[in-house]
């Protein structure tokens, strides 16, 4: 290990010239990143992690100014040290470093990719620019990488457009884009938030492999302390733009000093929580639900019928393979999925990235282009079930009001031309609720609920951090006090403390108002904390479904098992076994052991109840042998 750091950030401060005054996003931050090592950056949402990364890359927005400090980068190839802050951000020197020597994985993969260029083009481009190799070679390399980031059909991926991909897939494309040039320093801004734990483990191991081979340094921004425990050599803890605590992994986890860090570690959800135990955020928000909040009394929680019933839905997408060829490729995004959501209950949905979770939620929302090929979705507001896709006019409007959706990608779901106030008051306007003043009040209280300052009301979405945007999206969903909320990864961009705050809020709302949640998340601890029933999805199938305790206690399906294995633990004594993970073929239905095997061409697999309310999907060929399922 060389004693000289690869990147040395000293006294870095960044200000934003916002409309209402100066925002000090980063204040006198210092840290070092060493060759072949990983520096994890953790901290509160909005604490300046991404801004620091942008400052290093010279990609700050025009409104931002580096007011002090330096970022000394020593290129291991040439040994030359440059101060990145002093370089012309568009000059050739900076360009050579950017992408080639320092690469970055952006926090929001959706908006970071150009919508009109293929993934292959965008990924291989960096290689062409920096190494001058041919297009063909670059695509070849890209394909290899695609394989390593777990794309099933790497060749196809060259020709797909971002909008055809699931959130996780886009994120993996970003990772491939950053890694393709073998940079000396990789800045990864929450690179695995949209990934299920098994895929996440693969990515982490990929990073570690490269790190080991090429002595790549990694600056890893994340909220997942489990990931930190598994990956980091050093850890920086940030809070409101300042470094709170900095040290080696062991020091940080075993000997935390700062009050914030201690509180942070305390806020991590874990698997052995007692029923009814609450998470402990750094700041608890007293969720006072004012009486005026509710316009209607909640439907009686005791109503037996489920609010939502999904009945054997299937959905496939047609992918175009080139402009002119008549050949079409079909992707089966959902396959005979059935699910029901009781009033006032939470169903957790976990599963592989790209397994159809978002597609399912969008279908429930009756989003454009999401009509199921088969099957129906029933909604019951207490007056009897109704087919969602047959709702019209007033009924539809009422449905839109009672069922809300939290988008997986917060940024793209916020209109860039609307201020936070406009965004949050829009649902109220649409449904004609309240006077101007009342709406103003409501927006203010919504912001407080999700832990944002009301002062943010007049800012535009682009001027927020990832986690802040996510909370805006959540606040918007809450604005209409819906009876059902479909949360597609609502806390993936939040640090554990704010996450705890939000989860507690959702629980409180459920208790007070009888809201039902369909909760999609990759974070199994969060699912465990929130959900009563959990469904596990893989490749468009629900492979296992059971009450929370049952699932975690006795998973039956090999995929579920793999998933549970891949959870990174905060405990330093339980590191992930990357080699074992790599060997497992958890997400290949054809390779699942006997009763679970789903081979193409076979009759559709069946759902079998192995114990009360515990369902597992097994191949129709073995339908008769549910007992063969080992615990």
């Amino acid at each position: 290990m060389s004693s000289e750091p690869l990147l040395s950030v000293r006294d870095l401060s960044v200000d934003f010239q916002a409309d209402a005054g100066v925002v000090h996003a980063v204040r006198r931050v210092c840290f070092d990143v060493f060759e072949g090592q990983t520096l994890a950056v953790v901290g509160e949402s909005g604490s300046g992690k991404s801004v620091t990364a942008q400052a290093i890359m010279g990609l700050l927005s025009k409104k931002a100014r580096v007011t002090s400090g330096s970022c000394l980068f020593r290129d291991p190839k040439t040994g030359i040290t440059t101060d990145l802050v002093k370089l012309d951000p568009n000059g050739p020197q900076m360009r050579a470093i950017r992408g080639g020597r320092i690469a970055m994985i952006f926090q929001e993969p959706m908006t970071s990719l150009s919508p009109v260029h293929t993934i292959g083009d965008q990924v291989s481009e960096a290689l062409v620019v920096h190494t001058g190799c041919s297009r063909r070679e670059a695509e070849e390399k890209a394909m290899l990488l695609f394989q390593r980031v777990e794309f099933r059909n790497p060749e196809r991926m060259l020709r797909t457009y971002p909008f055809e991909l699931s959130g996780g897939m886009r994120q993996r494309a970003m990772i491939a884009m950053a890694m393709i040039c073998h940079p000396a320093l990789l800045i990864a801004d929450e690179p695995t938030t949209a990934l299920d734990v098994t895929t996440q483990a693969q990515i982490l191991s990929l990073i570690r492999d490269v790190q080991a081979q090429k002595r790549m340094a990694v600056m890893f921004i994340t909220h997942d302390l489990g990931v930190v425990a598994n990956m980091a050599d050093d850890v920086v803890v940030m809070y409101r733009g300042e470094v709170m605590e900095l040290g080696g992994r062991e020091t940080i986890f075993e000997d935390p000093h700062h009050a914030y860090l201690k509180a942070l570690i305390r806020a991590v959800p874990h698997f052995n929580m007692k029923p009814g135990e609450r998470l402990k955020p750094v700041r608890e928000i007293a969720v006072s639900i004012p009486g005026s909040w509710k316009c209607e009394t909640p439907a009686p929680a005791a109503a037996p019928a489920p609010v939502l019933k999904i009945d054997n839905v299937s959905k496939s997408f047609t992918l175009r393979s080139g402009m002119w060829s008549g050949r079409v490729e079909k992707i089966q995004a959902l396959n005979n999925v059935s699910l029901s959501l009781d009033r006032g209950a939470t169903v957790g949905l976990v599963g592989e990235s790209g397994s159809g979770k978002t597609t399912l939620s969008r279908m429930i929302m009756r989003a454009p282009g999401s009509k199921p090929d088969e099957g129906r979705i029933w909604f019951d507001d207490g007056t009897g079930p109704r087919d969602v896709f047959e709702l019209k006019d007033e009924e539809l409007k009422a449905y839109r009001r009672s069922v809300q959706f939290v988008f997986q990608d917060p940024f793209s779901s916020l209109n860039p031309r609307m201020t936070v106030y406009d965004i949050l008051s829009e649902p109220l306007l649409i449904h004609d609720i309240g006077t101007r003043e009342e709406r103003h009040e409501r927006v203010k209280s919504l912001l407080e609920l999700v832990g944002l300052e009301p002062a943010y009301m007049r800012r535009y979405p682009h001027s927020f951090s990832g986690g802040q945007r996510q909370r805006i999206g959540l606040a918007r969903a809450l604005a209409l006090e819906p009876s059902v909320i479909l949360c597609d990864e609502p806390t993936s961009a939040l640090d554990v403390s704010v996450q705890a705050q939000i989860l507690n809020l959702l629980k409180d709302l459920q208790k007070a108002l009888g809201v039902s949640y369909l909760f999609v998340s990759h974070n199994l601890a969060v699912i465990e904390y929130m959900a009563r029933d959990i469904a596990v999805m893989c490749r468009g199938h629900i492979v296992e479904q059971a009450p929370r305790e049952v699932l975690f206690r006795s998973p039956k399906h090999p995929y579920t098992k793999a998933l549970l294995h891949a959870i990174p633990d905060v405990d330093l004594d339980h590191p992930l076994d990357f080699t074992a993970l790599k060997a497992s073929a958890s997400s290949h239905p054809e390779r699942w052991p006997a009763p679970f095997t789903i081979a193409p061409g076979e009759p559709p697999p069946l759902m079998v109840e192995v114990e009360p309310r515990h369902f597992v999907r097994i191949s129709a060929v073995n339908a008769g042998v549910p007992t063969g399922v080992a615990a």
Binding site: S3, D32, D234, L246, R400, S413, N415, R417, I430, A455
Partner: protein, 388 residues
């Protein structure tokens, strides 16, 4: 591998998770302002745009009072001063400041041998003639209601003041330009209003709703686009009732121009909306139950605002000058109605380029207005741009 020598650093500052920094007065004001105010504040910071806005506001406000502002009336001729060049306004005579004045023009003898060559005007530098301000001049009827003879400024006693020269009939160009503003600045806006409202609505529907509606609108556009405008105009000019006043005729034509003009805009709107309608934030609005109108108006079009503002500011000169092209086809405004287009139209000959360049002066107000609209539009665009 994890044996690092990284020193353990702990921030020594006291930590209280609950302190929120208090808002300053200015911030307070900012956060409680309406979006409109925000845009206005941002707009105000752009000096160029502000100046343009003020200029436009003043121009439009002055339109009802052109009779007061113009020193001469619209048709007033002075047959002793045909094609008189502009008279300069001076302030100092013999080195003495005596306020704004002009030197009288004298028609120097036309060349007797060649009476056809235009006469030359000589400035008599001995007799300064001060301009009069807030004075009594020619009588006029304001707004068709009452008579007055009050003018902002008048020519001096005993001589003319043609600050921008005269035309072939000896009419004061300055006054004609001032009068011309009335029609040029108002009628065109109407056409833009018509074309924009149709273009945005139909283009928006085609782009957002798609399907059959889209093809129907596109076919309509195809037909309209292929419909020859030229013969339509020719047919129209024959069909216009003769006793319609030329202003009404022109008004009608502008409306028709607007009616024919929308497809271009509609196509641009449609193509942009087609790609925007799949954005998540549009879906988000849909899933909240927003109406089509709201989605198009609040979510889609604002994201296309820059293009729209640019198009609108570009249509202004097109409308002001549209008549010059139309008059080739026997349409458009004709004397005695006066607009900038008419003035320029009558200047469209070599004579005004080679001998009487001041007849081209109406281009300057056109330019000014066009640039003002342009800067104003830019300012608006920037003020509405969250990234700016």
């Amino acid at each position: 591998m994890s044996e690092t020598s990284t020193p353990h650093y702990v921030n020594p500052a006291p930590f209280d998770p609950h302190v929120a920094k208090p808002m300053t007065k200015a911030e307070e004001r900012f956060y409680s302002a309406s979006s409109f105010k925000l845009i206005w504040w941002k707009f105000k910071q752009n000096r160029m745009a502000l100046a343009a806005g003020i200029f436009l506001a003043l121009t439009y406000l002055s339109l009802p009072f052109v009779e007061v502002i113009a020193p001469y009336s619209l048709g007033q001729r002075n047959s002793d001063y045909l094609y008189s060049p502009p008279q300069e306004v001076h302030f100092f005579h013999d080195g003495k400041f005596i306020g704004p004045f002009v030197y009288p023009l004298n028609f120097s003898n036309r060349d007797i041998d060649d009476p056809l060559f235009p006469g030359l005007y000589e400035t008599d530098r001995t007799k300064p003639q001060p301009l009069r301000f807030f004075c009594q001049g020619e009588r006029y009827k304001l707004w068709g209601l009452f008579y007055s003879d009050f003018h902002l400024f008048c020519p001096p006693e005993g001589g003319p003041a043609f600050l921008l020269g005269t035309d072939k009939l000896g009419r004061d160009m300055l006054s004609r330009i001032i009068y011309g503003a009335r029609i040029s600045l108002t009628v065109g806006l109407l056409g833009i209003a018509v074309s924009f409202s149709i273009g945005l609505t139909l283009g928006g529907l085609a782009g957002y709703v798609g399907g059959i509606l889209d093809s129907a609108i596109m076919r309509l556009i195809e037909v309209l686009r292929s419909l020859p405008e030229l013969p339509l105009w020719l047919a129209l000019s024959a069909a216009m009732p003769p006793n319609w006043s030329p202003v009404i005729v022109f008004l009608g034509i502008t409306v028709i121009l607007g009616l024919l003009d929308w497809p271009g805009l509609a196509i641009a709107v449609r193509s942009k909306l087609k790609s925007l309608r799949n954005e998540d934030f549009v879906h988000a609005a849909e899933l909240m139950g927003a109406s089509r109108r709201r989605i198009i108006g609040r979510h889609l079009l604002p994201n296309f605002m820059s293009h729209l503002i640019a198009s609108a500011t570009l249509s202004i000169p097109a409308m002001i000058l549209g008549e010059t092209a139309l008059s080739y086809l026997g349409l458009g405004l004709r004397p005695p109605v006066t607009s900038w287009g008419v003035l320029l139209n009558s200047a469209q000959n070599l004579g005004s380029i080679s001998l009487y360049p001041w007849l081209l002066i109406p281009m300057i107000p056109v330019m000014l207005v066009v640039l003002a609209f342009n800067f104003f539009g830019d300012g608006l665009r920037d003020a509405a741009d969250p990234y700016h």
